[in-house]
């Protein structure tokens, strides 16, 4: 058990994406982009402020498997939804201001995506979520819709991105509980990347953890065991599938929508199957005395980044003695 935690720690170090502010390069690129936007956006456009959102802000990022780093930035424009009946109009202004040089700018349903190409591949991308303010309210309206969307898909959606960050950041008081929660979000994302690329979305997995995660701590040995926390969490997630075999993962803030709503029935079914395999593998690894075998169970779930100890480092569990002095009485 204690050895497995060392492996989980090592695995975590491998997949962890550092804090945004720790990554000077990405930070510089974000600042440059925002500077550009400020300069190029038409004078009649409202002014804006920005904030970090997504996994950077929540400290739950993982290294992208394909090397395409993403940066999520929220832009709050000094206007209200009433000022722009068509939210795509505002998104278009952003696109137009940025669309030059080595960038490809696309208007996506929930954001404006700016891609940077290097050697013919996307090097990294920035998702700019465009928000309008609400009078006397801390929550915002998110501009949704693409350039060629029908009118019904061009809408302002009530949104509370900062509230979500608060929820995740402040779920636990204890620093250690918080750290274990973040580690488990990262493991889960990597498991998803390995087993079910794309869906469920990272935000859905993060919110699932918010709803159903419990820190797992061995009181007798004063040690956090991530494998226990994962087993507990997966069991709890499975329990929350409804009679239609559907797992609703609600956003814990406005608009409280189901973050899995864009999954197909088939994707959901596959997700459940994979979860069952995941639970079985975690349980097998947990009770496996042979460290090599235990790590192999986990590697199958998390991919090659999960470490298999070198033969020489293998913790060889000595055969346990059949009995020992009881050392107590009654």
């Amino acid at each position: 058990m204690s050895k497995l935690q060392t492996h989980f720690d090592q695995f975590h170090d491998t997949i962890k994406l550092g804090n945004f502010d720790e990554n000077q390069n990405l930070r510089d690129k974000r600042d440059l982009l925002l500077e550009d936007l400020k300069k190029k956006i038409p004078e009649n456009a409202p002014s804006f402020t920005h904030f970090n959102q997504g996994s950077y802000a929540m400290h739950t990022g993982v290294q992208p498997k394909d090397g395409n780093y993403d940066i999520d930035v929220g832009l709050i424009f000094k206007c209200t939804r009433e000022d722009y009946d068509d939210p795509v109009k505002l998104k278009q202004m952003v696109k137009d201001a940025l669309n030059y040089g080595n960038r490809t700018v696309k208007i996506m349903q929930p954001c404006v995506t700016v891609e940077y190409i290097k050697n013919g591949n996307v090097d990294y991308h920035v998702d700019l979520a465009i928000y309008a303010e609400r009078t006397n309210e801390s929550i915002l309206d998110l501009a949704r819709g693409k350039e060629n969307s029908d009118a019904q898909y061009r809408e302002w959606e009530i949104s509370d991105p900062k509230g979500l960050i608060d929820c995740i950041q402040n779920k636990y008081d204890s620093k250690e509980d918080k750290a274990q929660m973040r580690r488990c979000i990262r493991y889960l994302k990597r498991w998803r990347d390995h087993k079910l690329p794309g869906k469920p979305f990272s935000i859905a997995l993060t919110c699932a953890i918010y709803h159903w995660f419990q820190p797992s701590y061995d009181i007798f040995f004063n040690q956090y065991y991530d494998i226990d926390a994962l087993i507990l969490f997966v069991k709890e997630m499975k329990r929350n599938f409804n009679y239609n075999e559907w797992l609703t993962i609600r956003l814990p803030v406005e608009p409280y929508s189901d973050l899995n709503s864009r999954m197909t029935k088939k994707q959901m079914q596959r997700f459940k199957e994979k979860l069952e395999d995941f639970e079985e593998a975690l349980c097998n690894a947990e009770k496996e005395d042979d460290e090599d075998k235990a790590c192999k169970y986990l590697k199958k779930q998390f991919g090659n980044e999960f470490p298999i100890p070198e033969k020489k480092d293998l913790y060889k569990k000595a055969e346990t003695s059949g009995f020992a002095p009881a050392g107590a009485s009654a």
Binding site: I219, N222, G327, A330
Partner: protein, 583 residues
Amino acid sequence: MIIKTFDYKNLLLKHSKVLSAEEIDPKELPERMRHKSKISRYFLIYFQIDKATYELVISEPDDFPKTLPCIHLAHPEMHDFHNHVNFVGNICYLDEGAGVFIDVKKPEAVLHKVLSMTGDTIESSFDRNLTSLYEEFEGYWNSLPDIVEVGCFYTPGSTPESIKAFCDPKSKKKFVPLILYKNAIPKEYGYYKRLQRLQSMNAWYIPLSKSVLPPLPDSGLNVFYVRKLLNYINTDLKRKLLSILTKQKKKRKGKKEYRNEIYLFSHPRPSGKLALFGVFASGYSNKDFFSDSYEQSWKLLPLSIQRHYRSYMLERGGSSLNMKDITVAVIGCGAVGSRISEFLALSGVGHIMIIDYDILKEDNIYRHVLGGESIDINKAKAMADYLKRRFPYIDVYNEPANRESWMKGKKWKDIQLIIDATADFTGMREMNKTIFALNNPVPTVYCWLEACSIGGHAILVDGKSKGCFECLLDSKENGPYRRCDFLKPYQKITKDLTGCGGAFTPFSSLDAIKTATLAVELAIENIMNKQKSIYKYWIGESRHSENAGLVLSDWYKKAYDGNTDNVETNYYKINCPICSCNL
């Protein structure tokens, strides 16, 4: 010894309501007014209450103000009823049930408070609201002259019935009852021994429907008062009562003879509970007491009812009545198990099954409930006999067997809870597994203690929620061990006073009592409140262990510093082979 620095008479006179105070010769006082403790002096005082002046007799105890004075009406027969004033005029100005804390340095303040409370007590009856007197009927009744105490094993209900009494015709009291009962008193009960040679007589229980007032001091307990009590029975019950009385006395009707009749009365107190009092009527008559119109032929004795019946004794002892139908099995009757059996009985558990194959030896005496009289007797049997001697309302079964042979029988599956105090961890682990395999798992408490007063552990496993005994276990190269122990595993902790074969774990009876307390608390919480699986411990100082060169576990250090309520709910293993299905 308190050196008196005050003059009691002066202190009395300093009180604004005391008009005069004169010392009186104790010989002039009737016996009933004399204080039980040593009294230096008595004073007759004139005491102003509202517009009336009361003549009171106040005592000066030898050790006043450590002992408070007694205050009586000087002439109780001249007064009507007062709340908190009994037949002999004693004024109960203070409810001493919860004890009194007296500042002995302030005699004047003490005495003046006594006098003020006396005034308030008397004044409380001025509006003729005698609720307190009705409520404290028994206190008043028990102050009647010649009162006789009678033990009542009968549980009074709401209908009249014929009951039984024991008396000792060879004693001075002759046919005066000593005990009232209906169902046989268990022969094993220690108190029964003194009843063995007694003679059984008929008695009658008469529940009055309304509250009654006690006899007034000027008339006392007399035939009219008792006969008039029948007016307080409602018509239906009266008919039933008369039919019982007639049935019992038919044979003797008409003959003039010596008759001894025993009546137990109850009446509702304003608070809802019953007041109990009794009357012993003896006379030479051709009729029973209630049919006879003559009064001269009957002599009456008031009976003070001492409650020995189950519901009262359990409530009075702080036990629960709700566990009288519960069966708890205790496996292992060692230092901890014997205490557990005792504590279960004290808590009101009605049925206890004790399982142990072992014999009590002299080695056990200083940490076992049982003493020298049980040496060389099977522990389970001796403990069962001991509990039956000690408690009147308990069924204790004993199985002089080990856990495994007891479990082979079917009896244990019908019990509500098991407590395993064997410290046989191999067997406990097997039992945990067996119980989880049942369709309806029996909640089980496992408990043990560690050497050198370092601590004790108890885990309740309800079989339905997460957590079980297995969750506390693990294995290392040296073999299985308990993760929650305060001493690191595999150390030599036994002590040997006599050489090979005499090794034992050093712990004291106090350690055993603490561990048993933990186990019984968990058991009761499960029985009464459906407590789910939980682990609890008590933790001691480390110096004895350190002196013995023993090494403490990390858990000891954490538990000692932190958790003040000594309870853990997060002890379970996520992937436990036995209970993870309950996660």
